[in-house]
Each structure stands twice: as structure tokens, then as C-alpha cells.
Symmetry: C2
Subunit: 270 residues, 2 copies
DNA sequence: TAGTGGTCTAGACCACCTC
DNA sequence: AGGTGGTCTAGACCACTAC
């Protein structure tokens, strides 16, 4: 049953929490302790309103806190549901390994190996380079570039978007970069066949809340951040591409392996 | 001036946006286009209420959307302010380079080099290993471990928390791991001196909304995610430590360098 | 003291889902 | 039809900041 629990500050004074926080704290505790399990429904707003002796609006404030924490989600007509957490791991340090042959691209391979069904849509554009990209490709901001855009799904759930920019000078050497639609052997492999091999990557990883556009493309509700992964690929002479991948933060984790990990595989841990 | 702008869906139908979304969209557009710059104040709720012909509560709903996106923040008695964005970059692929001598630890060095003032508090505990850590250290869940916890600040702004677990068998070889307070030469260097050298790392990076406890420690307002960086360090024989670092997502970016990046430094880009 | 955001209420109506 | 959440209002009082 609900208890009116105030917080004791470290200086010993009682700190009265507002009612909507008490509601959120109580429900969060119950979710954490398994009273409401993943995927199950919470009581309705009016039930909670009665239980906490608060107006419906106050209960809604509390619930919206939990939504903002990514703990629960709501749908009209259905109610509030405890979010499930299922993550897909992506090994970024061997993502573009060309040493073993693969039919499709690295993404499809990874997803299929995990027993999931990949799906993607492609778009190719000629654009002018925004400053963020231009700095990384070492070209003038506003110069022309090819943008290959990819929207990826796993089991029909939107998973990530990927935008790769190639500088104009590279497109002259590899004209197929402007082809709409997928390049069967993968663009990295195609470029390698032309003598342009990527021998180094600079990766940058950041997290933030999605823009409305990102939330729309990835069908993300509130309380879920995005992981932004920027990879700049270098040949011996110059940067040759810059890829910005936007992941749903609740569904993805990135892994890097550095150095000698021979001690890892001896005894397979979960 | 405010215009009533509804959205045109791709199927051609008009989609009436609720009023609080119109408020959020209008303000977001104005922030993006520079009408309100970083660090400046927005008009008050009652001003906006008049401008949009909406009740104060409706305006608040719109503003709370923008707060949830991390675009603005509010403080009682002051008003709403457009968030500043200033990121600290952390190079994770050379974070623990032991090849050049350093007086303090890698963190202090990095921060000082950036012209900022580092500060940290330490705590050492004997704990039982939670499952997540135990899997990575290849020890039984619930077995004993040393936890070295570190709370880090930059210019007195809470920056990150770091919790490193060492398995019990390692502590017997390196008893100073249980010393409260910092180990001057760094724990990695101390262990290397005992013949336990970390020759490989497995890194995992995830993003999510902070728990209330994390939000408290890092003084994060709503709309800011955390970056969770889990690094497991391996010696030739076995995993020797597991470090979980929790960063404020709005202040940090992680970088990895992979392979040959000699083409990068030729012409320094910003 | 005046102005700001923070909390809370009671009630209205709408949109969506299930039966 | 009945229950769920989504939107919106009008007004009250409180807590904090500035002057």
C-alpha cells in the first residue's frame, strides 16, 4: 500500500517532495522491484488518482516523469505499459572487416546472424557539404558531395538511419557512388577495388535527445535518447567518407575491442 | 508573428496539431533560427500565453516538450533559458597509454591539457559483485570485489562518475587496491608494476535517460541522457577489472581511433 | 514587492481501443 | 457503450529571484 514517504536530506532536515514526485517514486520503486513486470500494464490514471488521493492531472505529471526516464510508455486507449529492453550489439571495431567475403553489406550480415530480419531503404542525393561534414572530409563547406542515405529496420522496427557523405573528388574516381540503390558488394569494397582503401577510422560517439524529425523516422517515443556515431574513413592520403549513424538508444549498444583479448574467449561468458 | 501552421502529411491530408505542439514547434523554429540565442532567456509563460492565445498550462506543456528535447531549461524565479552546448572530448582508444609518464591519472591530464580545472572525490568499498560485473570479470555473481568509486568535476561542474571493480584474486596480489584515496601513479600503472599488465580492452557504450540517483549526482536536468561506458580490461590470462563510467551526455563525446590515421594530421582540421 | 516558474485542482471534451 | 489516455481551461496558492 501507498505510504506518504518524504525524503530525508543528508543534513537531517525533512524535504517534502511534491505529490507528483511521490507518485513517480512509488511507481518506480514498484517497477524496479518487479510488482509490474516488463510489458505489463499499469493501473489506469483514475485508479492511481484514487490510490494516491490526487487529481488526475497530478497523477499524469508523475507518470510523465517515468515516461521521460524511459521506464514506461503510454498509448491512447490502451494505458501505460512498462517498457521492454532488448538491445542489439554492434561491434564497431570490426564492423568493416573486408578479410572475409560477404554477400550483402556488414549490417545485413550482422542482423541475419543474430536471427533477425533486416530491411533497408536507400536514397542517393547530390548535396552541398554542411560544415560539420566538411571539417571532417577536409573540403570547403558548401562544396558538392554525394550523400547516400539509408533507413534501416530490424523485424520491421525502425532501427537506425545512416548518412554517408563522399567528397566530390572521390566521386570522379568512383562514379558508381551516385547510383541510386544499393551497391551489391558494398561501397567500401567497391572503393577498395578502385585502389582506394580505407586504412583508418576516426569514430565519434555522442548521445542526445532526438529531434522531432529523428523521433519520427525512428518511431521513438519520449524518454529515449539517440546514439550518434560519426565515422570518418581515411585512405593513405586523405579522408574519403564521413558516415553519421543515428541509433535508437534503447535498442542498441556499441562495442569496441582494443588490443589483445585472447584471455576473453577461453571461457565463454554470457 | 505567430501563425497557425498545421502539418501536411505525406498522404496529403491536413493533420491538426494540438496547440501545445504548435507552441513547441514555433519556439523550436525560433531557437534554431537564432531568434533566441544560446544562454538567453525566453519570454515568460504569461507572455507566451498571450501570444499564442492559450492558457498558461497549455504553454507549459509546449515548453516541457522542449525541455525534454534538451533544448531549453527552466529555473524557478528566473525563467526559461536556451541551453548552451559545450562538449568535452575523450579519446578512449588512447585513454590509458602508459608509454609517456604522467604525474596524476589520465583524466586529470586530459582535463588540465584542455585548460580546465579537474577535481575528484574518491571512495573505496568492499562489495559483492553484481551479475553484470561478474559476467565480465568471469567470477561468480555475489563473490567479493573491491569497488573504487570516483566522482569527477570539471570547473566544479559534475562531469562523470566512475566505478571500477577488481576481482578478489587480484586484490590479494595488489593490496594497495583497497587503500582509500587515490593511488598516485594510477591503478593501471600500479598493477603493471606488479606484473599485471592490461593488454586488451573490451568497451561497451550505451545511452539512456539517467536514474534519479544519477541525475542527482551529475546535477542533470530533464532532457539530458547519460552515456554509459563499460570497459573491461584484460591481462594475458584473465579480465582484471571492469569500469563503468557514467557521463553527462550533453557535455561529453567519446572518440576512437582505429587503424592508420596518418592522413589526418597533415592538415589540421578544426 | 512584483514577477517568475512550480504545484495542484476540478472539470470539460476529444480520440482511440476493446467488447 | 464504456474505459483508456490526450488536450485544454481557469484559477488558486506556493517558492524562488530580483530589485
Amino acid at each position: 500500500m501507498f505510504q506518504q514517504v518524504d525524503c530525508v536530506r543528508h543534513d537531517g532536515f525533512m524535504d517534502k517532495q511534491p505529490k507528483y514526485r511521490q507518485v513517480a517514486d512509488a511507481l518506480r520503486r514498484e517497477i524496479d522491484s518487479g510488482v509490474y513486470e516488463s510489458g505489463t500494464r499499469l493501473p489506469s490514471e483514475s485508479d492511481l488518482s484514487a490510490r494516491f488521493a490526487a487529481s488526475r492531472n497530478t497523477v499524469r505529471s508523475g507518470l510523465s516523469l517515468l515516461v521521460g526516464e524511459g521506464l514506461i510508455s503510454s498509448s491512447q486507449g490502451l494505458g501505460y505499459e512498462v517498457r521492454r529492453h532488448e538491445v542489439f550489439e554492434l561491434n564497431a571495431s570490426r564492423f568493416e572487416d573486408l578479410s572475409f567475403p560477404q554477400s550483402g553489406d556488414a549490417y545485413s550480415t550482422d542482423v541475419t546472424n543474430a536471427g533477425r530480419r533486416p530491411h533497408q531503404t536507400f536514397r542517393v542525393e547530390m548535396t552541398t557539404t554542411p560544415e560539420y561534414i566538411a571539417n571532417r572530409l577536409k573540403v570547403a563547406a558548401g562544396s558538392r558531395a554525394v550523400l547516400r542515405f539509408c533507413h534501416r529496420f530490424v523485424d520491421d522496427v525502425p532501427w537506425s538511419t545512416q548518412a554517408t557523405h563522399y567528397p566530390e573528388w572521390l566521386v570522379e574516381k568512383g562514379p558508381r557512388l551516385t547510383e541510386p540503390g544499393d551497391i551489391a558488394e558494398g561501397t567500401t569494397r567497391y572503393l577498395a577495388g578502385l585502389g582506394i582503401e580505407q586504412i583508418g577510422y576516426a569514430d565519434e560517439i555522442a548521445a542526445r535527445m532526438p529531434t522531432p524529425e529523428e523521433a519520427r523516422l525512428l518511431e521513438m517515443g519520449p524518454g529515449v535518447p539517440v546514439l550518434i556515431w560519426t565515422r570518418t574513413g581515411y585512405s593513405q592520403e586523405a579522408p574519403v567518407r564521413c558516415t553519421i549513424t543515428t541509433f535508437r538508444g534503447d535498442l542498441n549498444r556499441m562495442n569496441y575491442e582494443i588490443g589483445d583479448l585472447s584471455a576473453r574467449s577461453e571461457n565463454e561468458a554470457q
